[in-house]
């Protein structure tokens, strides 16, 4: 019997699990997927917002403003790259100036500090590649960029190091309420927990429906993006927003922490919660819409496009509360933007809620808040590089030529707690296949390293989910004359 079961291992679930791992609690972290950070966390803008967007008094505004300043220490402890590059919400006409001014006022009401409206000349100096229709912008220095799955993976690793038990491939099919506890049933097993925290993203309403009458609905709202080559990453220096309209925040342009240029998203309500396909018309819309920000975006440098689903709640605000009907069941639902920014503050709030529910929590003496990232070989000084290669020659073998990922880094990503077991899992953790060749050269190598380290056959290695097999068997002549499959 666990004290707490966290359902959903996205950035919300992993950060809550990690926060709870500070205390003497038996915590289970569950996910339907083959890996953590495989839902909305995997596909969003990766922006740590300042907090001027959301309506004053809303959960979105509150947790956004509380969450933003927590990222410095959090990313320091979890060794996650975070850059406060600041954001600019740009007016591209005098008419839009009013919107910028409204955002400024709303920001003040939400308690966002440091906001400033900058005029054309200063704006042009900061961002020379913006269209010259830009008239002014709201500058928010505390806005930042992060790799959203990196923070979730780091939190999951640290949670597991501190005793949280992680159950992957655990799609919750039903939850049985019993006196004072819950039985959580999946296809291949079940676990018991006294408390359930529902962080199931687009599926949160379904999980809620297993224990209580529906009180909200989650509609998946798809957003599509382009990722451009690193050669395009310097186009802008800040996160560039357009003025928000009824339809949402609009298409943004930013560089990513890895130096790529990110352009998107659009917003489209859909029905199927598993539909992650990109569409030509929506991508064309993103392209046209981004043209309002800058005509200089080199779309011939696109390395990939992707889409993500926002978990949009019918309540229009984050649903963060204990069910009145099912005590001990806590919803953390409808966490769409600015959910990533809000995540650490939500984790604190849930901790406080549990302290209230349980009448206090006892701290663990041996909690270790620190997690070390996989070594990024290329970012080290040369002396340190050579020292590492002497210790482990696998640091001298570059597997991914585009991102300069070493064999040692891939092996490390596989053998960590909550380590990579799939090609996409390796890609999310250490980035081979994220570069310009998109895995063309390194994928065969990554397959072989995964098979070797996990002691599996290469044909058993999947791309992402359990049924995403890559190879369909051996060629006709394999095996003739002994070892034909090339050794690494």
């Amino acid at each position: 019997m666990f004290d707490v079961a966290v359902v959903g291992a996205g950035v919300i679930g992993t950060l809550i699990a990690r926060e709870l791992s500070r205390y003497r609690l038996e915590v289970a972290l569950l996910d339907r997927s083959n890996d953590v950070a495989n839902g909305s966390t995997k596909a969003n803008s990766g922006i740590i917002h300042a907090g001027y967007d959301a309506a004053p008094g809303s959960n979105k505004a509150k947790f956004n403003v509380l969450g933003n300043p927590l990222f410095d220490e959090l990313c320091d402890h979890l060794d996650v790259q975070f850059n406060r590059i600041g954001s600019l919400a740009v007016a591209f006409s005098e008419r839009e100036r009013t919107t910028v001014e409204q955002l400024y006022e709303r920001g003040k009401m939400n308690g966002v500090e440091g906001l400033r409206i900058i005029e054309r000349e200063e704006l042009q100096a900061l961002e020379p590649n913006l269209n010259d229709t830009a008239v002014c912008a709201l500058h928010a220095p505390q806005a930042g960029i992060i790799d959203p799955w990196e923070i979730a993976i780091a939190a999951a690793e640290n949670a597991a190091e501190n005793g949280v038990e992680v159950f992957l491939n655990f799609p919750v099919e039903d939850i049985d309420r019993r006196a004072g506890s819950f039985r959580i049933i999946a296809q291949d097993g079940e676990i018991g927990a006294r408390c359930v925290i529902n962080c199931a993203g687009v599926f949160a309403d379904q999980i809620h429906g297993m224990v209580a009458a529906p009180s909200y609905e989650i509609t998946p709202r798809k957003g599509q993006y382009f990722v451009l080559d690193k050669s395009a990453g310097d186009l802008v220096n800040h996160v560039i927003f357009q003025c928000p309209t009824e339809a949402g925040k609009g298409v943004l342009v930013t560089r990513s922490v890895h130096g790529n240029l990110l352009v998107g998203p659009d917003a489209q309500e859909i029905e199927d919660k598993e539909n992650l396909s990109t569409t030509r018309d929506r991508l064309d819309f993103v392209r046209r819409s981004a043209g309002k920000i800058s005509k200089e975006i080199p779309f011939n440098e696109v390395v990939r496009s992707f889409s993500g689903l926002r978990a949009t709640p019918s309540t229009q605000d984050f649903v963060i509360e204990e069910s009145k009907e099912a005590r001990g069941f806590i919803d953390v639902a409808g966490i769409e933007s600015p959910g990533l920014t809000a995540a650490p503050a939500i984790a604190h709030y849930i901790r406080d809620l549990l302290i209230e529910i349980r009448g206090g929590l006892e701290k663990k003496k041996d909690f270790n808040p620190l997690r070390r990232r996989v070594i990024r070989f290329m970012e080290l000084p040369d002396e340190r590089k050579n020292e590492l290669i002497r210790k482990d020659p696998r640091y001298g073998r570059i597997i991914c030529r585009c991102e300069h990922i070493t064999e040692a880094a891939i092996v490390d990503a596989i053998h960590r707690k909550v380590g990579a077991s799939t090609v996409d899992g390796v890609k999310k953790r250490v980035r081979p296949g994220m570069g310009r060749c998109q895995g063309g050269f390194c994928e065969p190598q990554v397959l072989k390293i995964l098979a070797r380290e996990l002691n599996k056959s290469v044909t058993e290695i999947v791309k992402n989910e359990r049924d995403s097999y890559i190879l369909t068997g051996s060629t006709k002549c394999s095996g003739i004359g002994g070892q034909i499959h090339g050794d690494l």
Partner: protein, 421 residues
């Protein structure tokens, strides 16, 4: 810091041929750097035949062809560092590389030859919408998995693009028992060599669907089908013509891109038409002493021509080290005019042209009876007839040294012109 006369980056056919040529010119201290565990580059996975017809007057497989050069490298005792990745080069010709044995190392070169080859365009670069399941491979990756690793990539296969590797792989997959449903070409003509279309598709009854493309990839975990549409005269999909083809695998053969990240690290100027460095008659880039050859300069269709070009680069680098040529002023510009996609070399130093200058070029559409014309300003200095030209087949034209010496202007313009009727 260790000093070499010539450092060659890349141990495929281009790098090997350049190293051999440089050694034959009497250069002692050569170093060849190769990423893989063996020399040969992509040729090692090209187990089909058709290599060496020009060069050796023999019909060899890829590994057989590369073996000839590997043997020469050994005979000439040219030192190679295998399993070694070149990380950066500088304008003053320092090369940084890394491997497991020596760690990170910087060496100085009197001349550098870049021979890094090319990479395949991936799905993102051609922007095919849809889901992102397993089962989408580039033709070269599939080739490696099948021919080197010994694994199959799928049972029911759709192929998009008609690059040569794709055509070869359609046949290879068929021989391994897969069902190749069709090969799609966006344009009204195939992208690869006609001989590959005949020998790999026609001979195996694999349908070639010209003017078709994929508008959506379907399938959640693994590919379960693709939506195929006809394309119009601008090669864009025509709405309403979509048809579903069920398949478990999609192979992409949609173009190759010269791999020039190292070149950029030294500030070498690239030609946006070829994607490779701007080079002169001896394949020297715009940075003195740094040469380039093979698919890193422009994508070739035959390894024989890669080797030929690499010998020019190897000799050029050797002469640079020996200081036996006039300093390259490269004052003549070669410009692709009407009907041309590109021409290589892009610059020429008149004094360094020996008996003639070979121009390598590609046209930008299919031509019937036609000719290639080279002009000095408005004046025609060379005109050669062609019965047929296609972007998939590289053309070459030779102009005499005399023509270059007699030039009035500083630009040579190369054009393709169709013959009426």
């Amino acid at each position: 810091m260790e000093i070499y006369d010539i450092v060659v980056i890349g141990g495929g056919p281009a790098g090997m041929a350049a190293a051999v040529a440089a050694r034959q010119m009497g250069i002692e201290k050569i170093l060849l750097i190769e990423r893989d565990r063996e020399l040969g580059g992509i040729l090692q996975q090209c187990i089909h035949n058709g290599f060496g017809l020009h060069n050796f007057k023999e019909d060899l497989t890829g590994p057989e062809f590369s073996e000839r050069y590997i043997q020469r490298i050994e005979e000439l005792d040219i030192p190679c560092k295998l399993d070694t990745m070149g990380l950066s080069i500088t304008k003053n010709r320092e090369v940084v590389f890394v491997n497991s044995r020596e760690g990170l190392k910087t060496v100085k070169a009197r001349a550098i030859v870049l021979a890094m080859g090319c990479r395949e365009r991936a799905r993102g670069a051609v922007n095919i919408p849809g889901s992102r399941p397993a089962g989408v491979f580039t033709a070269g990756t599939a080739q490696r998995l099948i021919n080197i690793e010994g694994y199959m990539v799928g049972k029911k296969i759709m192929m998009l693009g008609t690059g040569d590797i794709g055509l070869i792989m359609a046949r290879r997959l068929t021989l391994e028992g897969s069902n190749v449903i069709a090969v799609l070409a966006r344009k009204p003509y195939p992208g690869g060599l006609m001989r590959n279309v005949v020998q790999c598709l026609y001979d195996y009854d694999i349908p070639l669907m010209l003017q078709h493309t994929i508008v959506e990839i379907l399938g959640k975990d693994r590919v379960r089908g693709v939506l195929v549409a006809r394309t119009d005269e601008n090669s864009l999909p025509i709405p309403g013509t979509e048809e579903l083809y069920e398949c478990d695998t999609l192979i992409l053969s949609v173009g190759l891109i010269p791999e020039n990240e190292l070149s950029l690290s030294a500030g070498i100027e690239l030609d946006r038409r070829t994607g490779g460095p701007i080079v002169n008659e001896s394949r020297e880039t715009r940075v003195p002493g740094i040469f380039a050859c093979g698919n890193v300069v422009h994508v070739h269709d035959l390894v024989d021509f890669v080797v030929e070009e690499s010998e020019m680069a190897g000799k050029g680098a050797a002469r640079f080290v020996q200081r036996s040529v006039e300093c390259a002023d490269a004052s003549i510009a070669l410009l692709p005019g009407r009907g041309l996609k590109y021409v290589v070399p892009q610059r020429v130093t008149a004094a360094n042209v020996e008996d003639g200058l070979d121009l390598f070029l590609r046209v930008n559409r299919v031509y019937g009876p036609s000719y290639i014309e080279v002009k000095d300003g408005r004046e025609s200095i060379k005109k050669v007839k062609r019965p047929h030209m296609s972007p998939g087949e590289m053309e070459r034209v030779r102009i005499n040294r005399r023509n270059i010496e007699k030039m009035k202007g500083s630009d040579l313009i190369v054009e393709a012109v169709g013959v009426e009727g």
